[in-house]
Each structure stands twice: as structure tokens, then as C-alpha cells.
Symmetry: C3
């Protein structure tokens, strides 16, 4: 049987000792063969949406049985609940604030439980160490979700920004800009309008980019192009350069796709 895995995703950075403290708790309270795997600690501070996108992209790649600990928690100390839940055969631990809200839908029922505070002595400011890491360690030792606290029926969602069709144009927005300057939008390859968009023209901030291409190699070095990125979302990129710099793009900017004819 595989050694249990707990992954860590936070907005703590690694210059401070916060992530290190959580690892100490996991290794002390977890099973002796535990594998602790860093996913990322550079989520923009307190950005639930950035965390939700990160979780959406990577959790589905992991094996059954993995436990994901995600701590991006602007509401620490407030009334938001502490959550441990399932997604397919994996489990997720973190604040109930939407960080798990953009995971793909699943046929399997979601089991969700609150995490009861182990004692009054926990820190008011560091639930990652004092509440979430101990809960993840207990799951890694084989305890079931319902041992952690009462069932939760009304999970906090996070609405995916919808594409809007207006006339012969589909409007979306910039969700994320990656390290390479690729501009990632909310427009999904699976959107029924895009499925038929054979001769569409993509624009970003009103600037025409061109049709939706299949490969970087279809553009010249330095040329902007639109294509579906590795997660199926429409991206604006540039070969050997930063599209975000060239078009001064920022999260929230408008992107549009103009169809030759109004799609059905």
C-alpha cells in the first residue's frame, strides 16, 4: 500500500517559519511513513480565487487517497468554518471559504465535515498549524472524515465567472497571469459556443489577437496568439515572451471572442 500523502498549498511563502511549523505538526501527529509534498506557498496573500484556480488545476492529477491541506484564509479568527471534505477518492482540508469551489464536478457524493476545535488553547491566528494540520494528520492516520466534526450540508461555494454571450461576441475575463506572462481566461474549451468557433477572433482589452490556434509554433517569435492552455482555458500567449507585458494585462481585464456568425 502506498505511503500516505499530505500536500500543502498556502499563501505563507517560505521566508517565515509558518509552513515549516505546519510540516512539524504533520510529521509529529501523522503516520510514521507520511510523505509531505509541497504544492505551492506563493499564492497571492489571501486570494481565495487564485487558490481555487490552483486547486482546480492540480488536485485532479493526484492519486486516490491523497490528502490536500490548503490554507489561504483571509477570515482566520472570524466565523468561517473549518472544513474536511472528499473529492472523488481524495480528501481536502482547509477553510470553508471557496478555495475548493472550482474543482470539477464529480459523480461521487461529497462528504463534508466541520473540524471541531481540539481545545481552547489553539492560536487565534494560526489555524493552519493548530487546527488544519492536526486534522490532516488524523486523516492520514486512517481516521474517517466524520471523526473530525459534524456533517456540513451547505458548503461555501465560489461562483465561476461566467462567459456572457452578447450579439455575436462571447465575453470573458482574465483569471490569472502565470510566471511566463501567459494570460489565462475563464473561457473554457468545453463552452458550447466555443466548440463551434472555427473562425472566431479573440480580443484582449479591445486589442485584436487573432483566431484560436493549436500550438505556439503557429505563431512567430514575439507574435501574440490565442490558444487553449494545458488546463483547457483560453490563453493569450506570445512565443518566447510575456503576453501580459506586451498588452499590459491584469486579472479582471475583459477578453472577447467575436464569431463570424452568431453561434447556435
Amino acid at each position: 500500500m502506498a505511503a500516505p500523502i499530505v500536500t500543502l498549498t498556502t499563501d505563507f511563502g517560505t521566508r517565515d517559519s509558518y509552513v515549516a511549523q505546519m510540516k512539524g505538526v504533520l510529521l509529529r501527529l501523522g503516520p510514521p511513513e507520511l510523505r509531505v509534498i509541497d504544492l505551492g506557498h506563493e499564492i497571492t496573500a489571501q486570494s481565495v480565487r487564485e487558490a481555487a484556480l490552483f486547486v482546480r488545476e492540480c488536485v485532479p492529477r493526484f492519486p486516490e487517497g491523497t490528502i490536500h491541506l490548503v490554507v489561504v484564509d483571509p477570515g482566520v479568527g472570524s466565523a468561517r468554518r473549518a472544513l474536511a471534505r472528499s473529492w472523488e477518492g481524495q480528501r481536502l482540508v482547509g477553510p470553508d471559504n471557496g478555495v475548493f469551489g472550482w474543482l470539477p464536478p464529480s459523480d461521487q457524493p461529497v462528504l463534508a465535515h466541520g473540524i471541531e476545535t481540539p481545545s481552547d488553547a489553539i492560536s487565534a491566528t494560526f489555524h493552519g498549524r493548530d487546527l488544519f494540520a492536526p486534522a490532516a494528520a488524523r486523516l492520514a492516520r486512517g481516521e474517517p472524515l466524520d471523526a473530525l466534526g459534524p456533517a456540513i450540508a451547505d458548503l461555501q461555494g465560489l461562483s465561476w465567472p461566467s462567459a456572457v454571450l452578447r450579439g455575436d461576441q462571447l465575453y470573458g475575463e482574465v483569471l490569472h497571469i502565470d510566471r511566463f506572462g501567459n494570460v489565462i481566461t475563464n473561457l473554457d474549451r468545453g463552452d458550447r459556443h466555443l466548440l463551434t468557433a472555427d473562425n472566431a477572433t479573440v480580443s484582449l482589452r479591445g486589442r485584436p489577437i487573432g483566431p484560436i490556434r493549436e500550438h505556439y509554433a503557429q505563431a512567430q517569435p514575439g507574435e501574440l496568439l490565442a490558444l487553449y492552455g494545458s488546463s483547457g482555458l483560453l490563453e493569450i500567449a506570445v512565443r518566447d515572451g510575456s503576453a501580459a507585458l506586451i498588452v499590459s494585462a491584469a486579472v479582471g481585464d475583459q477578453v472577447s471572442v467575436a464569431f463570424g456568425e452568431v453561434p447556435g
Copy 2:
């Protein structure tokens, strides 16, 4: 039995290959089931105090048997000794320059040994790879501390900056500013003066902050507040913002606590 753990804390960053080289040595010379755990590599270059604070906060969280390799070493190539020592049931390997000097006191006796240079051929500039990592690997294989070198009786200390009581005010200083802009001071919740500070007023750089609160939620968004952070040290923070930016705080700045009456 748990697979041995060696943690790594350095000021090397991860853009260069220094940390990677140390991992290679640990995995090559260590036991076959070794777990290598990154704690942090973004300690400010050559800052022994920042490393000591980092070690103080995270080492006590780890399980018995853990080996911590800490390489923040402004004196590499000089006469500072190479050290392997115990702290409770854990072991610490690094330069004898104070990086372990702020660990909480322990009832258990400290065993401390120098690390003998394995040969004349080691690099004059990279003891992390050539001296400390091999020593940590030997400990992880089960060798005792005293196999590494002669006992050391006079460990290099690092004095904790003391709080100073003058009149009805307790004076301290800023120790660290974390990623979120929280301003962490040397004033410890356990200080006997603070234990009775029910109606104290905290000031930072002469600017009044207010009383010592229990939770972030006791302040409005954007409002500065003083509270004990997750490690028991007095912090100046701001809900949903950076206190360090608002008050232009830097490491070494003065913080004070004014008591309504002179504490006993």
C-alpha cells in the same frame, strides 16, 4: 519505526543549485528510506538572528528523532566551529554561530560535539555540502553525536534582546516582519510584566496602537491592532493589510507598552 527525517533550513534560495547539491549528498550518504524536508531557503542572506527565530518557532513542532540541518553561515572559512547537538529528543547540525541560540530552554541535558573535517579536500566555501550534510547523513544512519567529533562545552549563544522596564513603560524592539506585514516583537506573552498588563497601551515607533487584543476580529478592516501572535510574541498587525507598510516599520524599531500603573 518512522523513516528518518532530515530538514533543511538555509539562506541559499533555490535559484542556484546549492540546496540541490546538499540534497544529493544527504540522499547518497543517508539511509535508504530517508525523508528530506524543506523548511525554508529564503532566510535573509547571512542573517543569524532571522535563522535563530525561524529555528525557535519550528523545531519544537517536530517529532522526536528529527535531524535539522541549518546553514546560515556568514563565517564559513573562518574559525567558527561546526556543530552537531541535541535539543530534547531531536538533533541539530550547523555552524556554531548562534542559529540554535534562541531555542526554548529544555530540562534535558544538551549533548554537543564538533564535526571533524572529513578530509583536507573539502571546499573552503561550501561547508553545507561538504561538512554539514555528510554529518546529518551519518546521524540519520544511526551514528551517535559523539562519533562526529570532540565534545563542545561552550556553545556559542545568541542573546535574546531583553525587554526593558523604565518607569511605567516596557520597551522592546521589532524582531521580524513577516510576509503579511505583521510586525513581530521580542515581547513575550510570558513576560511577568505583561502578564498583568490588562489595560496597557502598545506603541510602535512612538505611534499609539491600542490595547493588547485577543483576535484579529476585534479590529476593523484596515485598523492597526496589537495582539499575541501564534508564537506568543507581541505583534502589531492590521486586518486585511500590512501593518509594516502602514507604520513604515523595520527590524530594530522600538516598541513600548505603557501600563496604567507601574506593574509589580
Copy 3:
């Protein structure tokens, strides 16, 4: 037997989920006891030379059997081949673009194979996840190199920038500047001219630095010095400071060594 190790070196950073996605694939497709080890994800974006230097410095430190996954891949989507090869008793997986080109020569024969695309459905933009990580996972499960694809005889090389002797001066260049501001050159301690350079004078960008020293401690704090770094390459450094800042050095700058007499 040791649990299999796959290391990861990329230019992806850890703010985006790309590295996390690769770890998911490795853990899902790899053997149940797999150890995933981060080497570095902060290679300058698309810098094959920086990756090649990183690989050169750390791969030789690792134990036999290690699998190194290196994804710095400016040509993703173009015709460059996907490669899995041996180096001594270790294996390397990544693009065939020179990232493995600066490894030390070895007496052992190199086995090199292309990686056949598992299906048409792989992403055109993320071979790290869809092509290289699955290949590394298969090797970690015990499959041989030749199971991945056809043999490759003509590996893409990367020429090491040669030192040039002109008159009584040896000319080289700046290869890398590390986090501490140490300026690392292509001049190797093993170069036959340098072996006899007892009274040489090193210059950087035309500025005299001095003779080649053995230790940092031979310079005063703040003083520039030349010495062989931990990898055997000539470095310009400064005690307790950044040589790169002091001399405004950049990658590609000229370094020279003037000999008292023309070396034999």
C-alpha cells in the same frame, strides 16, 4: 532497497500550479513508495544554459538510481525531441535541447532514447506534465529506457564556452551570478593554464581584482577577491557583500587572468 527518487528541476516557479500538476502525475503513475524531491523551480525562464549549469553542479551528487526530471523547454511544441537517457548509474528525463549538455564526461556508455507520445491527446503546451512526468514515473516503476521509445544516437549538445589564451592572458566569461552576488565564470580549476597560475592577476570587466585566493578569510570584509568556488570554477566574490553589485557584473561579461609569464 532504497525507495525510488525522482527529482524536479524547472523554470516554472511555484506561484502557478504547473509543478504541482507534475507532482500529481508522478505520484499517481509512479511506484507507491516514490520520493519526489524538489531541486529548484526558479531557473530563469527558458534559460537552457542556466539549467545546464544547475544540472552539472547537482546531478553528480545524487545516488545511483536517481531519476532527474528537468523541464526548461523553450521549444515546447516545436520539433525538439523528448529524451530519456543515462548518466553513470542515474537517469535523466527532459527535452533534448542541451540541458544535460554540461554534465561531466563519463566512462560509462550513454543510453539515450526518445519518448514516444503516449497519445494524440497530450497538451501541446505542457509536455512536463503530459510527456516527461509519465516517462519518469515509468522509469521509477522499473521500466528500462528502451521501453520509452527508439534509441537516439545524436544527442543535442551544448558547447561549454571555452577559455581563450591570447598572449599572456586567459580570457573567459561570466556564466552565472548567484544569490549572494558571487560572480561565477567558465574558467575551471582544472584548466591546464590555470594549474600553473601561481602569480596570476584576475580582472573582471577590465577591473583588476587580484590573485587567486584559497579562502574568503584571505580578504577583508568588503574587499573583492578571486577564488575557486565550490564547483571548481573561478569566482569573483566579496566577503560579506555582493561582488556583482560592486562591479555591476552580468552574465556574459569578460573575465581575464593575466600571468606573470606566458604559461607553458
